[in-house]
């Protein structure tokens, strides 16, 4: 296990450096740069002013020079300065990660706690009316685009039935307890993101459970007279959860990218909205850091999936 971990960590390093080169080049290849945007908006700007600005922002260095500069600083722990916010990238990202964590945590809670029980129920009552209802709803949930659902939820629960705020993460000037304020704003985006979660968890759980229920050891357990609740809980469910745990770890980065759209629709100032604004505004330092953060999540959670797999399934051993 130890050797496996060391091996994987080394791999992770190589993957991240490779990814950073790719992301950096892609960002550099996007047409236009911050100075172009500034210059285009001002009819009176003179070419020498544009030249001075280009020098100030260092946008004309060759790409490998810029990459090496960035890499050297990043390895020293300096993510650089945001062009847009005039603040260190690390500080901006720090604030945003906390906000995204709220949203992801809540939507995950909703998705998982609704999806798993429904999935189990569906599997235990396959082809029953409730199974069909659950199937219809989960496919519906999967098929709904996040941005559309977000706007519909805002219309339903903020305009027609104004019980929740229409976007934002806090009400400026709110006097009461901040947790309430935060929770009120969290409900709609978390529900939107959570819908996708529970829809897919229902499907995964259902099929995984069905697979296990067909196994010989379940039949054996039943044959030797184990009471049905015990068959389900200790024999079937525990085994059915193994693939779910893997999927859990693997789905987390996906949730983060889903959050980009949700955060944009709901003006939720998290990593997703930050990334979106950074790319539009050619704020490369921020975009690099945000994208690499996503990449790091993917790699980390992959590793966690592998480790969790070994822990829950005694048949899996890494050597």
């Amino acid at each position: 296990m130890q050797r496996f971990l060391v091996h994987r960590f080394l791999q992770m390093g190589v993957i991240l450096v490779g990814l950073s080169i790719m992301i950096f080049s892609l960002l550099a290849l996007t047409p236009g740069d911050p100075v172009d945007l500034i210059a285009a908006s001002d009819p009176n700007i003179r070419p020498e002013d544009v030249k001075a600005l280009r020098e100030y922002y260092g946008v004309d260095d060759p790409i490998h020079v810029r990459y090496l500069k960035w890499l050297r600083a990043t390895l020293k722990g300096d993510l650089g300065y945001s062009r847009t916010y005039g603040q260190p990238v690390a500080r901006i990202i720090g604030e945003r990660i906390a906000n995204t964590a709220w949203l992801l945590g809540a939507s995950f809670l909703i998705g998982f706690s609704i999806g798993i029980p429904i999935g189990i129920h569906s599997a235990l009552h396959q082809y029953s009316r409730s199974d069909y209802v659950a199937t219809v709803f989960s496919f519906g949930g999967l098929a709904m685009p996040v941005f559309w659902q977000g706007i519909i939820f805002i219309l339903l629960f903020a305009v027609w039935l104004p019980i929740f705020p229409a976007g934002g993460f806090t009400q400026p000037g709110y006097q009461g307890w901040w947790v309430w304020d935060r929770l009120r704003h969290l409900v709609l985006p978390a529900l939107v993101l959570g819908t996708h979660g529970w829809a897919s968890w229902t499907r995964y759980m259902r099929s995984s459970m069905l697979e296990v229920l067909r196994q010989d050891y379940v039949r054996t357990a039943r044959a030797k007279g184990v009471p049905e609740p015990s068959v389900i809980n200790s024999h079937a469910l525990r085994n059915a959860l193994i693939p779910i745990i893997t999927l859990l770890a693997l789905s987390f980065p996906g949730l983060v990218s889903g959050a980009v759209i949700t955060e944009t629709v709901f003006s939720w100032p998290g990593m997703g909205l930050l990334l979106y604004q950074a790319i539009l505004g050619h704020d490369y330092n921020v975009a690099m850091a945000a994208l690499l953060f996503h990449a790091l999540l993917v790699v980390m959670f992959n590793l966690m999936a592998d480790i969790a797999y070994a822990i829950v399934d005694p048949r899996v051993r890494y050597s």
Binding site: D42, I45, R46, G86, R96, N99, I151, T170
Partner: protein, 557 residues
């Protein structure tokens, strides 16, 4: 496990219900707080940025020597009066130079209590002028040789020395040094390293001198200002207690917030006329303003192209288009006037009597035939004597629904007179970053200019302002238009200090322009703003440098 999960579901559901039932009272806005929604968030404040929303937000906290009111008249703000030639505090000197004397209001303070004086204005000029500062446009700064506070005992008198004649020297705008920054806060950084000014914390948490003082800026969410009780400037201290800008980037969601009453007013909202109509229908408490602005939507012809060099071809294309139908695309009900010249109606120099190209396919066909496009091929498209097929392309910003619909109409109308129009769009950053600046569009390009009351057209229509590699892509004469008489007129316009005479010159320029038709004027776009009817004293201005909350200190709920 199942026993464990089911209670979780119950808990989550109960929690959601509890939150939803939590008194909506908490959500109700306090009457003395105003929330303004915008579809952009400022990248930063200060002269280093160019986003309109940044100017709007900054205007709430700091002010300029002068501003413009809802009638677009110049009004003194930090200055005691607007200098004029008539009053003698704006002197025209021999050798084409000028000298302006400004008197700063006494008794004004920065929000930290320090007095605001002419020294702040002078240091600001120095900061912007410094070659190491990332100042965006030095267009005006270059015209000013120096700013002086001649008498140490009178730090309220400021002398501005101009090195050339400029008709709008007493005005303000984005690239004017007429918005002072606090010397006592910024000067140390300026003296040590001007390149670091932009990153100074001041520009995220400004200490201004306006009626509102900065409270907080939560990036991605909102910026809040509080009333500054000690404000002594025009309009007096605010009647409302807080002014908040909420940044809601998706205009549909912003619209929902307006309908739900969660934002009190909007500007820079990216709304369409259709969205405005929905707002009016769904919430009768909201006033929707359709304000004529200085936005000119148009199509440029590339004059380097041999076919489009011919004036008759350009005129034929204009006659072929039903521009009132195009205007209806963006705003139903004839609200948005069709443009016949380049200057918008609210500009003082607007000429209503220029040559107009009414919708007339027959006239278009006749002009095309006259220009050598007489034969029509079996595909319905015209050919010239050399057998070339009349196929041209039009570019615009991809994803802009109104412009893309306009292109469809143009395509239909041009096909009817035998021209095949191909649509070839680019993202805004590419279109403006490269294609228009370097004139890399083969035939037509559609976009808008946002003008101001000081717009004179020099950078747009003077032949020296055609961006070329040789002049390092200077200027905004994107069509490549060149007419010696227009050049002479433009040179006179930028030097003419008498507004009546300048107006005559601009009127003449537009006559020639409309005959030559370097671009097709499409529509003068309206500015769309909303505010709750319960807020009194809202006076929309709609200029590129003055926004809805310009007089928010006079607003009352």
């Amino acid at each position: 496990m199942l026993r464990l999960i089911c209670p979780t579901v119950v808990v989550v559901m109960t929690l959601a219900l509890a939150i939803s039932l939590f008194p909506a009272v908490a959500a109700a806005q306090r009457r003395d707080a105003v929330v303004i929604g915008t579809a952009q968030e400022p990248a930063g404040l200060g002269p280093w940025w160019t986003l309109a929303v940044g100017v709007m937000v900054e205007n709430s906290v700091s002010q300029e020597l002068v501003s413009r009111n809802e009638k677009w008249q110049l009004i003194p703000v930090l200055a005691e009066k607007v200098p004029t030639i008539k009053d003698g505090d704006w002197e025209v000197l021999p050798g084409g130079k000028m000298r302006l004397t400004w008197k700063i209001r006494r008794g004004l303070t920065w929000h930290d209590g320090k007095p605001l004086t002419a020294l702040d204005v002078r240091v600001t000029y120095g900061m912007l002028r410094n070659p190491r500062s990332p100042t965006v446009s030095r267009f005006i700064l270059r015209k000013i040789d120096n700013m002086l506070v001649p008498n140490e005992n009178d730090p309220y008198t400021l002398i501005e020395q101009w090195n050339e004649r400029y008709p709008f020297a007493n005005d303000h705008g984005r690239d004017w040094p007429h918005r002072p920054y606090p010397r006592h806060i910024l000067e140390p950084t300026y003296l040590s390293d001007p390149a670091k000014l932009r990153a100074h914390p001041y520009f995220r948490a400004p200490i201004g001198s306006g009626p509102f003082k900065f409270k907080e800026w939560v990036a991605g969410s909102h910026t809040t200002f509080e009333a500054y009780e000690a404000y002594k400037g025009p309009g007096g201290s605010p009647r409302i207690r807080t002014l908040t800008y909420r940044y809601i980037l998706d205009s549909t969601v912003l619209q929902a917030n307006v309908i739900a009453g969660q934002v009190d007013a909007t500007d820079i909202n990216n709304f369409s006329c259709e969205q405005m109509a929905q707002i009016e229908r769904r919430n009768s408490q909201v006033a929707a303003h359709y304000i004529p602005a200085l936005l000119w939507e148009h199509v440029d012809f590339n004059h380097d192209h041999p076919w489009l060099k011919d004036k008759r071809v350009r005129q034929a294309i204009a006659h072929a288009l039903d521009r009132s139908a195009i205007s209806e695309v963006s705003c139903l009900g004839g609200r948005q006037p069709v443009a016949h010249t380049w200057l918008p109606q609210r500009h003082y120099g607007y000429n209503p009597n220029v040559k107009k190209y009414d919708y007339s396919p027959d006239r278009a066909r006749a002009l095309l035939a006259e220009a050598g496009w007489a034969t029509v091929g079996p595909d319905g498209i015209r050919r010239n004597a050399r057998g070339e097929r009349f196929e041209i392309s039009i570019m615009t910003t991809a994803g802009n629904a109104i412009r893309e619909q306009t292109q469809q109409i143009m395509k239909d109308h041009l096909r009817a007179v035998g021209i095949d129009l191909k649509i070839d769009n680019r993202p805004a950053s590419v279109l403006f970053g490269q294609i228009t600046r370097r004139r890399q569009y083969p035939h037509l390009v559609m976009y808008a200019w946002v003008f101001s009351p000081v717009t004179d057209g020099f950078a747009l229509w003077h032949s020296r302002q055609i961006p070329r590699e040789a002049n390092n892509y200077e200027g905004n004469n994107t069509p490549g238009y060149s007419n010696p008489e227009v050049d002479r007129l433009e040179e006179a316009i930028v030097q003419e200090l008498d507004e009546a005479k300048r107006k005559q010159l601009l009127m003449r320029q537009q006559e020639i322009w409309a005959e030559d038709l370097p671009s097709i004027p499409l529509v003068f776009r309206l500015a769309l703003l909303t505010n709750k009817k319960s807020i009194r004293n809202v006076k929309p201005v709609q200029l590129g440098s003055v926004y809805l909350p310009w007089n928010a200190n006079e607003w009352q709920q």
